[in-house]
């Protein structure tokens, strides 16, 4: 098979596609996580909570596939990243999976019995299913920025030398809070669009305002920390972007402030953090000015900008090792083979547009605000 792009280009394409998947997950399932985190607080009665649940009920399952596909695509395109990060963050992954397991069941089973105690338990299960992943993902990103204590031996077997508590450093916790604020804001943005005017929507917007301010301040604080703190890695010597995927062939070193170096070298990249800062403000303006679309657009901008800025800051690093100079995973040394990357690109080019088309159709079919009347009358509602 002749491959029209060289290995370097294919790796770059798949680095971008990995970002597209993560952002796709945050933009879609992100508002499900945010809405579920808000569920016990914005809905006080069963009917109110059912408005929130049915605002995400018909589409959350498709949204969650972005997460599953993210796992599969990282496995296929970045097997080193899949192997090292998931086995390293072992118990954290278990927490995320357990929380995610509660969601499909929670949505479906909650409505099967009218018993208030039954429903209250599922409400908290749904809350956990939204809040815990939102927090853990952010903590994980914080850890990745700080470097992860793993090393690879000459067989490429990975050994993780950190502890569970070690994951919760102050910087990592800051990452967790940014993620929670950003996704809660996105949930509030979705509920603003999807609920009829009333107490639930009002409460969601009040939480949304707090989340928008928190996202702005905490994200800015994260940027300051990267500039002033002792975080960052840089390459020592050169790496062949066309070379074999063998992480032990490159050398990296800890370097304070290095995560901001890319913005000096490529000034256009500054767009991402600017978007991450502007998004929460736009959402806030939307809430204050009663411009519903602006709220959701702002929260989407925040997701896009914040996630993209993490990727751009670290480029070409994907997973730096904090304990071994010759183990860090880079765009140039942690990918699948040239052939696999190309085959997966073809598959993606064919199927992603189809997926987007029927997803758009599904949203169109379910278009419209959830009303109290729907919740009371429609036999198909959760």
């Amino acid at each position: 098979m002749t491959i029209p792009f060289d290995y370097e280009t294919m790796r770059l394409i798949w680095w971008v596609l990995m970002g597209v998947l993560l952002i796709g997950f945050a933009l879609t399932d992100g508002f499900d996580l945010g809405s579920a985190s808000l569920l016990p607080f914005v809905g006080r009665t069963d009917a109110e909570r059912r408005m929130v649940i049915n605002a995400i009920g018909p589409t959350w399952e498709g949204n969650q596939v972005w997460f599953i596909l993210g796992g599969g695509a990282i496995f296929a395109a970045w097997p080193f990243v899949y192997a090292v990060s998931f086995s390293g963050f072992y118990i954290a992954m278990f927490l995320v999976l357990s929380a995610f397991i509660l969601r499909p069941v929670g949505f479906k089973y909650r409505s099967k019995k009218p018993d208030p105690a039954w429903r209250a338990r599922w409400d908290w299960a749904l809350f956990v299913g939204g809040f815990v992943p939102a927090l853990v993902f952010g903590v994980a990103v914080g850890n990745v920025l700080q470097g992860v204590p793993f090393r690879l031996d000459s067989d490429m077997r990975s050994f993780y030398e950190g502890t569970l508590l070690g994951l919760f450093s102050p910087f990592a916790l800051l990452g967790g809070l940014v993620s929670v604020a950003m996704l809660v804001l996105h949930g509030a943005g979705w509920l603003t669009l999807k609920l009829e005017d009333g107490p639930v929507r009002d409460r969601a917007q009040r939480f949304g305002q707090v989340a928008a301010l928190a996202a702005f301040v905490l994200y800015a604080l994260g940027g300051v920390w990267l500039a002033m703190g002792d975080i960052g890695y840089r390459l020592v010597g050169t790496v062949d972007p066309l070379g074999p995927s063998n992480p032990r062939m490159a050398e990296a070193a800890h370097a304070a402030g290095a995560w901001l170096a890319n913005y000096g070298a490529h000034p256009w990249m500054i767009l991402a953090p600017l978007l991450g800062l502007a998004g929460p403000l736009v959402a806030l303006l939307g809430i204050r000015g009663r411009k519903d679309v602006l709220v959701f657009a702002g929260s989407s901008m925040a997701n896009l900008g914040i996630i993209a800025s993490v990727g751009l800051s670290m480029f070409p690093f994907i997973l730096p090792s904090s304990i071994d100079a010759r183990s860090s995973l880079l765009v140039w040394n942690a990918s699948s083979s040239h052939t696999t990357l190309f085959i997966m690109l073809l598959v993606t080019l064919i199927f992603l547009p189809i997926v987007l088309a029927y997803t758009a159709w599904a949203y169109k079919v379910m278009f419209g605000r959830i009303t109290t009347r729907d919740v009371n009358l429609n036999p198909d509602f959760y």
Binding site: Y109, S158, T339, Y358
Partner: protein
Amino acid sequence: MIDMAVVELSRLQFALTALYHFLFVPLTLGLSFILVITESVYVITDRPIWRDVTRFWGKLFGINFVLGVATGLTMEFEFGTNWAYYSHYVGDIFGAPLAIEGLMAFFLEATFVGLMFFGWDRLSKRGHLLTTIMVAVGSNLSALWILIANGWMQHPTGAVFNPETMRMEVSNFKDVLFNPVAQAKFVHTVSAGYVCAAVFVLGVSCYYLLRGRHIELAKRSFTVAAAFGLASSLSVVVLGDESGYALTDNQQMKLAAMEGMWETEKAPAGLTLFGIPSNSAHETAYEIKVPYVLGLIATRSLSGEVAGIVPLVERADYRIRQGVIAYDAVEKLKVNRNDLAAREAWERHKSDLGYALLLKRFVADPRQADDATIEKAAWSTVPNVPALFFMFRIMAGLGFFFIVFFATAFAFSVRRRFDRKWFLRAAVLAMPLPWLAIEIGWLVAELGRQPWAVDGVLPTFLGASSLTTTQIWATIFGFTALYGIMAVIEVKLMLSTIRHGPEVYEGYEGQPSPERAPATTFTAIPAE
């Protein structure tokens, strides 16, 4: 050295989570098609009873479906969490079908399943039927891709080891895609799912017929399940996955182990109906054999030989010795990638590298292994013969039972005899059997693959992550508790939904139009 406790616990967790996941998936695979059938009848005949039938089975489908989704999440990430070295070693090939599964299948079923449940009033009849079809197609496509992945573990084609990256890499993706083992496994597995759903629908229908409740729904469902079940049970057995056994040493080993056949017999070999095999004595006692049959089934000829376990072990011994040369070459290439002598040795012996890795269970460096160790490693290629021998017989026996069972049901349904109490009772009692057959089927397929994670390429014990036993115990307890609670809730909800029975649905318009949707029709607690 490898910590075998970590390996065994990782295997235990994988088996528990996979077996549990596979309690829900087969019913999803089959019930989605039964929904397509009943809803098609509704769209064609326009008789509301068929809509109620569809919605009733749809409700049970939903309760089951969500647990399939929930437990499937674990599977997607468990390779990375617990089998990190495996993920690195074969991710270049194995990851692709998993990613394609997400892109092509999961999105389809998950997006349309939402519309299937929420779209009854928002879609036209045909539009809704289309969503139901998409759910069925999506779930069955996901089975295709995961079995392409699994088929590659059983029969790894289209890939070579790359010493520069220390992993297997794709050499021919078409071979991975059109792997004959994967094709056979796909047909066998989805057919088993259809049988499972048919037995389920038939059992519930017979329960209603026995009780004299919901007769209209029960008779119709009985008829659909009987026909669907007969076709599927024939497909499961006739298109059973025997077709791949002649392909590789390890698949031959699996076949020999299932048959408890220690020595190669003169062709055509006989089929052992019963016996008591022993892994330590290397023999199968009290054999009852039917001459010729095994040779005919396995090789589709009178002259093809079916290899026995002992000669296969001798072949493994030889391949281990060749593999050590390949291993030595890889170690030299690690130090100097331009070592020409090593590269030449590597090219000649690379197909046996995996066999040398078997030695790592006993010595850190396979090049230091003595003859006794090599013999021990060669014998380690024999899977658990008694377990495979008996489990295979239970599974195959159940397969034949389902054919007879559905033939009987079909005969009754054609003659409109829905009143044979003995059969109705038998059908209710038979409900757990497909799950038994399916779980055993998984065990036969995957225990038969041992000691390999990927046949001839990577031993299972090398695939595990570098974790501690404490970590794995924690997640085994966690998953067991979570899954246990979910199972209890699921079964209770299924039973209460069955006891409650179908409902008669009336139209509901999403838009406010009070005269068309009288508020008195529905209570504040929805039926769903």
